[in-house]
Symmetry: C2
Subunit: 196 residues, 2 copies
DNA sequence: CGAGTTCTTGACTATCTCGTCCAGAACGTA
DNA sequence: TACGTTCTGGACGAGATAGTCAAGAACTCG
């Protein structure tokens, strides 16, 4: 009935995400996104609304992916919960180390830049941190039931601690801290979790 | 011999700092700073150079203050090292909680926004993180000598871990995590430091 | 194949923003 | 007091930037 879109929405969002990721919200020009995606600005505005709406689409999707990925890495039977936790923490450390361009995490960058003034961003990051902590807490509780972590401390508190360490690794990586140091911090964090 | 400056350089830098802090580097207009300080742009450019040079002045000074403040809080005799460490961690948690406007930390914000592309910012944040970790490590080593922390683990690794937790608290605070949760994470971090 | 609808392209506007510049002001010195 | 120097305030210019718009393209259904 009408002319179909000539672009793949997901691919455009992916490219837009890379732009926002690289230059931040304020630092990204709509023309940059248009150039990177090959779309005219009319198509961009027609399909996604203005710059802010486009950013929110990108940010939402990224938050969802991050939460899902974490959940998948952490969920499973109690018997292997401790191993999954260790794998997850080490995977985050490795991803920080591997990010040689120090692009960092889009969530950290966006939250730092926008959460203060942009309620939509603030809401989403609050929700994401909450979800991440829940997944970590569930995994830790499993490890406690399996006897790999001291069941004494509140699992939610330990989950919060691990989340803080992970967010901290992210921040330190962005600040250029050495790979060896990043890895050492991850290992130390795992080592100090109280054994039964 | 010539007309003297009519403004206090330190006060202008302080006001400029607040502007950059509130709206980020890219989001801050030179005109905003001019309006906030009451200076004409001619004076601003004459005294500090361009926007980037002004930002670096502000950022440098802030980094120096942060390192000094941390050093002052953490240095002292071994006997009270453990207490000083606890006080410091709790003080950071309280400052995160008290920041109801979620302005966050200028270093975190600037590093997230600029370190990737601005070598000057990257260098300064790397240096700052290094200094902070050294102060934490020295304090922890003192607590180990005093018998308040297990002397087994490498003090530098524990220092790195605490630094990561502190940076993580900052990030979570920015993300809107509840005050009670922030405090609980700080306490948990202190609690998991291994006792002798 | 024609009509109707949506998409595309890129020129265009209005505003913003950095940095410059200059005329006049303020000060110390001779 | 007159002069030279530096500072001040704000107007100005060049270029950037968000968002709009109109003319034509592409597609489907009748």
């Amino acid at each position: 009935m009408a002319r179909p879109r000539s672009f793949d929405e997901a691919a455009v969002l992916h490219t837009a995400r890379d732009q926002f990721w690289e230059t931040g919200y304020a630092g990204t020009k709509v023309d940059d996104i248009a150039a990177a995606t090959g779309l005219g600005k009319g198509s961009l505005y027609g399909a996604f609304g203005d710059k802010h709406a486009l950013f929110l689409r990108v940010f939402d999707h990224y938050c969802g992916e991050a939460a899902d990925g974490t959940r998948r890495q952490l969920e499973g039977p109690d018997e292997t919960a401790y191993r999954r936790l260790g794998d997850h923490v080490r995977a985050i450390a490795e991803s920080v180390v591997a990010d040689r361009a120090r692009r960092g995490c889009l969530i950290a960058k966006s939250t730092a830049e926008c959460a203060e003034h942009d309620e939509a961003v603030a809401t989403r990051s609050r929700q994401l941190f909450h979800d991440l902590q829940e997944h970590l807490t569930a995994c830790i509780a499993g490890a406690q039931r399996a006897g790999d972590i001291d069941p004494g401390p509140d699992a939610a508190h330990l989950g919060g601690l691990v989340l803080a360490v992970l967010r901290g690794l992210e921040a330190l990586g962005k600040g250029g801290v050495e790979p060896a140091e990043i890895r050492a911090i991850a290992e130390t964090a795992l080592a100090v979790l109280p054994k039964p």
